[in-house]
């Protein structure tokens, strides 16, 4: 894989207010969730040697109840469960990183928790964001291909003239 040139994303780095910071963190968590284990581990590798880590919560698999809404937008109901893995780590003298991901992959959950902890260090935020660029790019390409394939199945109706006039 070719290395990514360092990019500046000031709109994320300059985040100061807590609401925007939380939103930015959610976006990153959404990326970890959609990344592969290998992608996350490669991202963590960039930060070697890592600071001392304490596993507050070793990765553990569990379930969540996925809810839907009656009619799509009404009262909630329980659709069925999904497997989830979660982990929490604390960096020495630093933040607590937390991860919750669909599936059963302890190593992936741990990598995501480490990245979440690193991201909370404003000095590393840009670098973490940058380390996820390959994931962002892959997802965008896959989404574009899927959207194009789906779009190709859209029906174009022809109207036939019928009758006398």
């Amino acid at each position: 894989m070719r290395s990514e040139p360092p990019r500046t994303e000031p709109q994320i780095a300059a985040v100061a207010d807590p609401a925007a910071e939380q939103t930015a963190r959610e976006v990153m968590m959404g990326l970890y969730a959609r990344a592969t284990r290998a992608e996350l581990q490669a991202a963590v590798e960039r930060f070697q040697p890592l600071p001392q880590l304490k596993k507050l919560r070793p990765a553990e698999a569990g379930l969540i109840m996925v809810q839907g809404r009656t009619g799509g937008d009404g009262a909630p109901f329980n659709l069925g469960e999904a497997t989830v893995t979660r982990a929490a780590v604390q960096l020495a003298g630093g933040a607590t990183g937390v991860s919750y991901l669909l599936g059963r992959d302890p190593a992936k959950a741990e990598a995501a928790a480490i990245l979440d902890a690193l991201w909370q260090d404003s000095a590393l935020r840009l670098a973490v964001t940058d380390a996820l660029t390959p994931v962002r790019r892959r997802l965008a390409v896959e989404a574009a291909i899927a959207a194009e394939e789906t779009e190709a199945t859209k029906v174009n109706f022809f109207t036939m003239a019928r009758g006398e006039d």
């Binding site: 968590m29 969540i64 937008d73 965008a140 390409v141 989404a143 859209k154």
Partner: protein, 398 residues
């Protein structure tokens, strides 16, 4: 009555070894991998996830392999597995309006915002065996080549799908959750705008009852019914839905909309104070639009049935919507006339794990029960033979 029966350990061990051998099949044939099952038998995987009520493609593939393709056995395995895991919480209800669409059709409106998107469907196939699949076929045709549905759109060229990660359309920075498309409005919202269709029941903040936490009891409210139907047996619900079409509690349904695609799942996490996005799951949704009655307080308006299932299964989602609508007869002031309306009948029998458990338990040893009945019938016959007036009865019977 169950009686402990000792013995047979060696026979059972050998039976399980034989099962494992049969599962593996001819050894000169390569063993099937979970990735192959998940990738190439994906609708079987979807069914196991839906009725196993457990979204995990890899686990469902494993269950199918272990069950030798017996999907109800695989569903049983999924249900058993879930009991081994702790529950972390309940998701934010998924927003099907924000679905990343892979298929979306409406049978009620030809031209609707977002259009009719066929996606990967068996519809309009000729149901002829494709001999090419019997051999190791060369790659699948490109869905962008314009050879599929036969509209012959011209000038449609996409070129080769790049393998080096580059792509013609530049990957722009994506909004939150990486979903950039404009959401497709639900057909029910189009009708709802005019007030011609009943609105969805409002969310009053009550957590829905959960079948996995409390046994099914009646009356069951609509959220509980929907949970039972979402994990109910596809064949059973299909038959019940069909029965409503044939006149057993007719509801005059239209398919307002079917959509299939991925939705984001997020989990409110207390320690963080916000909902964490966990990734995407595939779901199929069906909105049925049914006939109206109106009442003293409500003007005539279309009524609705709802179906939502894990994975791609519109047969199941449609059946669910039909049965959901039939089960609402009381609320809509309709006569009770058919099995599909009877919630006790429907909900008590739609779970195939329960059903198979009770049906199949009949094959377990019932030696003592049967001995008791055998004794009883012998005694009755003996009594009948010695009783006075037996001769008369015999004559009468003849």
């Amino acid at each position: 009555m169950y009686v402990a029966v000792k013995g047979g350990e060696a026979a059972i061990r050998n039976a399980h070894a034989l099962l494992a051998k049969k599962r593996r099949g001819e050894e000169s044939v390569p063993e099937i991998g979970l990735d192959q099952i998940a990738g190439q038998l994906s609708l079987a995987v979807d069914r196991v996830m839906a009725e196993g009520s457990l979204y995990d493609r890899e686990l469902a593939a494993l269950a199918i392999k272990q069950a030798r393709g017996d999907l109800i056995e695989a569903i049983f395995l999924a249900r058993a597995f879930r009991t081994t895991l702790p529950r972390f919480g309940a998701s934010v209800p998924v927003d099907t309006g924000a679905m990343r669409i892979e298929r979306r059709i409406s049978a009620t409106f030809k031209d609707l915002p977002g259009g009719q998107v066929l996606g990967p469907t068996f519809d309009y196939t000729h149901r002829l065996m494709d001999e090419r699949l019997a051999t190791k076929a060369e790659g699948a045709p490109s869905p962008l080549a314009g050879e599929g549905w036969g509209e012959g759109e011209e000038g449609r060229e996409f070129g080769a799908v790049p393998t080096d990660g580059s792509h013609p359309s530049p990957p722009a920075p994506l909004p939150q959750g990486e979903r950039g498309e404009t959401p497709m409005p639900r057909v029910t919202d189009l009708l709802g705008g005019e007030g011609l269709i009943e609105p969805s029941p409002a969310d009053d903040g009550t957590p829905p009852r959960d079948l996995t936490r409390e046994p099914l009891s009646f009356p069951a409210d609509r959220p509980l019914r929907l949970q039972a139907l979402a994990r109910g047996d596809e064949g059973f619900l299909l038959a019940l839905g069909y029965s409503t079409q044939r006149g057993y509690a007719r509801t005059h349904p239209f398919v307002g909309e079917i959509r299939f695609g991925t939705v984001e799942v997020s989990l409110p996490v207390e320690e963080l104070g916000f909902a964490v996005p966990l990734g995407d799951i595939s779901v199929t949704e069906c909105q049925s639009v049914n006939q109206f009655k109106g009442s003293a307080t409500e003007p005539p308006q279309f009524t609705r049935g709802y179906g939502l299932v894990f994975g791609q299964s519109e047969r199941k989602a449609m059946s669910m919507a039909l049965v959901d609508r039939a089960l609402r007869f009381k609320e809509l002031g309709e006569e009770k006339s058919a099995p599909a309306q009877d919630e006790e009948f429907v909900l008590s029998h739609c779970d195939n794990v329960q059903a198979t458990g009770f049906v199949e338990h009949l094959k377990l040893p019932h030696y003592v029960d049967f001995q008791a009945e055998l004794d009883l019938i012998r005694r009755m016959r003996a009594e009948a033979e010695t009783a006075p007036g037996t001769e008369d009865m015999k004559e009468a019977a003849e």
